[in-house]
């Protein structure tokens, strides 16, 4: 692909994003669907499931930003998701145990009581701050370390994958403090509200829906801003950005940190909605699985990753209920075919039809 077509492709996407018509209407439709239609149509159980998909969609928004826009293929979003989730789970376990109490699972394996690094999370405020800060901080440190050394492309992808592998091994290997392979579950309350009460569970769903919409607004602002242009430029030609006097490492690190923040918040909300977090939700495989929805929906767009993540998660639940092995084939084939033949995802079909253009709007992402 020549530089010229790449530029026109980028302009076209930006133009589409900027068409206030599409975006405003889309947001409105999403808000109505999430806040009015879904709670009316779905039973408590199904609404809880939708809440879980929304949490995964939050991670997808971040991946769309880092990967679709920034070209950083991160196979380790499960780490940030997991940090957010485990922080929240630690707080909920401690809160259930009461002031000074020890969560029940800890007494099973060791009699050492609550380890020191759990103690700060007795406080709800500290926990919420930590959820907002820690994943982003870790991403900043990692990002600066790797991007400054110009580690990119496949190297970055595999490093982030190694990170996810190490994180899961650590969690499983310390059952006395992390719950091991079971993870943490059996939460009674959420900041004082009883989780068994359907009213509270519905409220949690609304919070998740609100947070997701807020993230979409933030992501869109970032995408159409000057920074967003710079990020795309870094993806398409890092050298050129450097020649122009910008530091690509900083630009990419910001996107990576925002993506980590979104993943962390998604994880934190996942815990009270689903009621459990385990290493199976954060390791290598779930980290890659998070990418499926993003790729299928359309990685460079705003709505694509979100819709993709929700649809794939929904399909996973319903199809695997009926055809456990068929679903694995479908998932693999979908991934293969979409990435190989439709790199822009489903969103590029829409763009194509509307713009009558032949080039999908995805540049070289290495």
């Amino acid at each position: 692909m020549t530089a010229a077509t790449r530029v026109t492709a980028a302009t076209r996407v930006t133009a589409l994003l900027r068409s206030r018509y599409a975006v405003g209407l889309g947001f409105l439709a999403a808000a109505v669907l999430l806040f009015a239609v879904a709670p009316l149509l779905l039973s408590g159980f199904r609404l809880g499931q939708l809440g879980r998909y929304l949490c995964l969609a939050m991670v997808a928004v971040g991946i769309g930003l880092a990967w679709g826009r920034g070209g950083m293929l991160t196979l380790g979003q499960g780490v940030f998701f997991g940090i957010g989730a485990y922080l929240m789970a630690m707080h909920l376990s401690l809160a259930d145990a009461g002031p000074g109490g020890t969560p029940a699972f800890m007494t099973l394996i060791s009699s050492d009581g609550v380890p020191w690094w759990w103690e700060p999370f007795r406080s709800g405020t500290v926990t919420v701050l930590a959820i907002l800060v820690l994943p982003a901080l870790l991403a900043t440190v990692l990002g600066l370390a790797t991007f400054r050394r110009r580690v990119r492309g496949a190297y970055f992808a595999i490093l982030s994958q190694a990170l996810a592998a190490a994180f899961a091994i650590l969690l499983v290997g310390n059952p006395a403090t992390t719950g091991g392979s079971t993870g943490l579950n059996n939460f009674v309350g959420f900041f004082g509200f009883a989780l068994r009460d359907p009213v509270n569970r519905q409220m949690l769903y609304f919070i998740a829906a609100g947070v997701l919409l807020l993230m979409l607004v933030v992501a869109r602002q970032l995408m159409v801003s000057r920074y967003g242009e710079l990020l795309v430029a870094c993806r398409d030609s890092e050298e050129r950005v450097r020649f122009l006097g910008y530091d690509p490492a900083t630009v990419k690190t910001v996107a990576f940190a925002v993506a980590a923040l979104m993943a962390g918040v998604g994880g934190a909300l996942f815990v009270p909605i689903v009621g459990i977090i385990s290493p199976n939700d954060v390791g290598v495989v779930p980290s890659i699985a998070l990418l499926i929805g993003v790729a299928i929906g359309g990685r460079t767009t705003l709505a694509g990753p979100v819709l993709g993540a929700i649809v794939v998660a929904w399909a996973a639940t319903t199809l695997s209920e009926q055809f456990p092995s068929g679903w694995t084939y479908a998932q693999g084939l979908m991934f293969m075919l979409v990435v190989a033949f439709l790199p822009g995802g489903i969103a590029s079909l829409v763009t194509l039809r509307r713009r009558r253009s032949a080039t999908p709007a995805v540049g070289r992402t290495a």
């Binding site: 900027r18 206030r20 975006v23 405003g24 947001f27 409105l28 808000a31 806040f35 039973s43 408590g44 159980f45 199904r46 499931q49 879980r52 699972f105 007494t107 099973l108 394996i109 009699s111 091994i169 499983v172 290997g173 059952p175 091991g180 392979s181 079971t182 993870g183 579950n185 059996n186 939460f187 309350g189 004082g192 509200f193 009883a194 068994r196 009460d197 359907p198 009213v199 509270n200 409220m203 949690l204 609304f206 919070i207 609100g210 947070v211 919409l213 807020l214 607004v217 159409v224 689903v274 009621g275 459990i276 977090i277 385990s278 199976n280 639940t317 695997s320 209920e321 456990p324 092995s325």
Partner: protein, 421 residues
């Protein structure tokens, strides 16, 4: 600049999002300390008006645990077919709703919720790993539903809403230790996978050893799915214990025993007592690699009782002559008949009635007669130590003779008093 209309729209939406957030936080649901709350547990939706009743089977049909759990699913399905052929439960045919736990605790929790709330099943049978059970436990407790869990586990647990038809520690691990002590073992090496069952089991073993004067020469954990045991077996060999106590899980067993044999260690020189290897696993490990090693369970395919001969024959007739039967399969099969007996004794499918009727319900299972303990919802079972024969089947070597009362918290063992605190 972007048009001002869009900007206003965006602000409105951001406002909406913030509003929904504050709405959520100021929500009007029950607080934790409220006694009743606005909608406590949903009333049971089990439908017993027709001539059939739904039961849920929740096993991993995909993922790493599918190897083991498919066999449990098969024996549960067989039990349901036999019960139906025999007239059902309280005259109602069992209608199976099967779900895939996908080897992930989170999925188990979600599917359990679906079975209870959407499918309205009268009872759920399944689960294998301790993780899956612990993930499902709060779901069953908060919905006041019933789970029948068929696998031996690490004990230190009992729930009103779970019936444990596998062994607890005093029916498997402690008899296995008794056996090793009887054989003259004065030192042990512990090898296990790095997760909750081996860690808890080893905690119990260490307490037992201290009391019995057995020396623990080492304790090694391998990450789940670990495939290279060169270093761990080297440590085992160097320590030179009288016996090894093995709580490894799944594929790791294969790599461990191949390595063990490659170092020239055998059942004669240093026996390995295993508590997670049954008939089903022997084929994958390779009989040559494990022949003569002791294992501890409550059931073997070779048990010579009329009930077991019928069970083995029925299973082979249904699923193929090459299939073997194992302890968890038998425990699952038994659990469905026990549920039937409880329901018939209670004359009701309602959970509180079944719980009330559970005590001392018994069944002539393939392993021998088992009896439900109404206090801790475990079974009184006979404990057996077996040896793996050259045909891949397991032959009873030692038996506790009579059923051992379940004691999940090991309250009747003075040396275990420090464990539960």
């Amino acid at each position: 600049m972007v048009g001002s209309g869009a900007q206003r729209m965006r602000r409105a939406l951001a406002g909406l999002a913030v509003l929904s957030l504050s709405l959520g936080i100021a929500g009007c649901g029950a607080r934790v300390d409220d006694a009743g709350g606005s909608g406590d547990t949903a009333a049971s939706c089990v439908d017993t008006s027709g001539d059939s009743v739904k039961v849920g089977l929740l096993n991993s049909r995909s993922g790493t645990m599918a190897i083991s759990e498919n066999t449990v699913y098969n024996s549960l399905a067989l039990a349901a077919e036999q019960i139906n052929a025999d007239g059902g439960v309280l005259g109602k045919q069992l209608e199976i709703v099967a779900e895939d736990g996908a080897s992930e605790p989170t999925v188990f929790a979600e599917k359990a919720q679906k079975l209870i709330q959407s499918d309205c099943v009268a009872a759920v049978f399944g689960g294998w790993t301790s993780s899956s059970r612990k993930a499902m436990l709060p779901v069953f407790e908060s919905n006041d539903a019933l789970l029948f869990y068929p696998v031996q586990y690490e004990g230190l647990e009992s729930s009103e809403n779970i019936f444990y038809s596998g062994a607890t520690t005093n029916q498997q691990i402690i008899p296995a230790l008794d056996y090793l002590k009887e054989q003259g073992a004065t030192s042990l090496f512990l090898v296990g996978s790095d997760y909750v069952f081996p860690q808890t089991a080893n905690k119990i073993i260490k307490a037992y050893a201290e009391d019995a004067g057995i020396e623990i020469l080492g304790e090694e954990y391998a990450p789940l799915g670990h495939t290279d045991f060169s270093t761990i077996t080297a440590k085992v060999r160097d320590a030179g214990a009288d016996a090894v106590f093995n709580t490894l899980n799944g594929d790791s067993n294969v790599a461990f025993f191949k390595e063990y044999r490659a170092l020239g260690l055998t059942a004669e020189t240093m026996p390995v007592m295993s508590v997670s290897i049954a008939e089903e696993e022997v084929g994958g490990i390779g009989v040559d690699n494990i022949v003569g090693q002791p294992v501890a369970w409550n059931y073997y395919q070779t048990i010579d009782t009329p009930e077991n001969q019928k069970f083995v024959a029925d299973f082979k007739a249904r699923y193929g002559d090459d299939k073997v039967t194992s302890d968890p399969m038998e425990a699952a099969y038994t659990s469905m008949f026990l549920w039937k007996a409880m329901v018939e004794k209670a004359d009701s499918f309602a959970v509180p009635d079944v719980q009330a009727a559970a005590d001392s319900v018994s069944f002539d299972a393939p392993e021998g007669t088992v009896t439900v303990n109404g206090d801790n919802h475990h079974l009184a079972k006979t404990s057996l130590v077996g040896k793996i024969g050259p045909d891949g089947l397991i032959y009873t070597e030692w038996s506790s003779g009579e059923p051992i009362e379940p004691d999940p918290y090991l309250e009747s063992y003075p040396w275990a008093s420090g464990l539960t605190g």
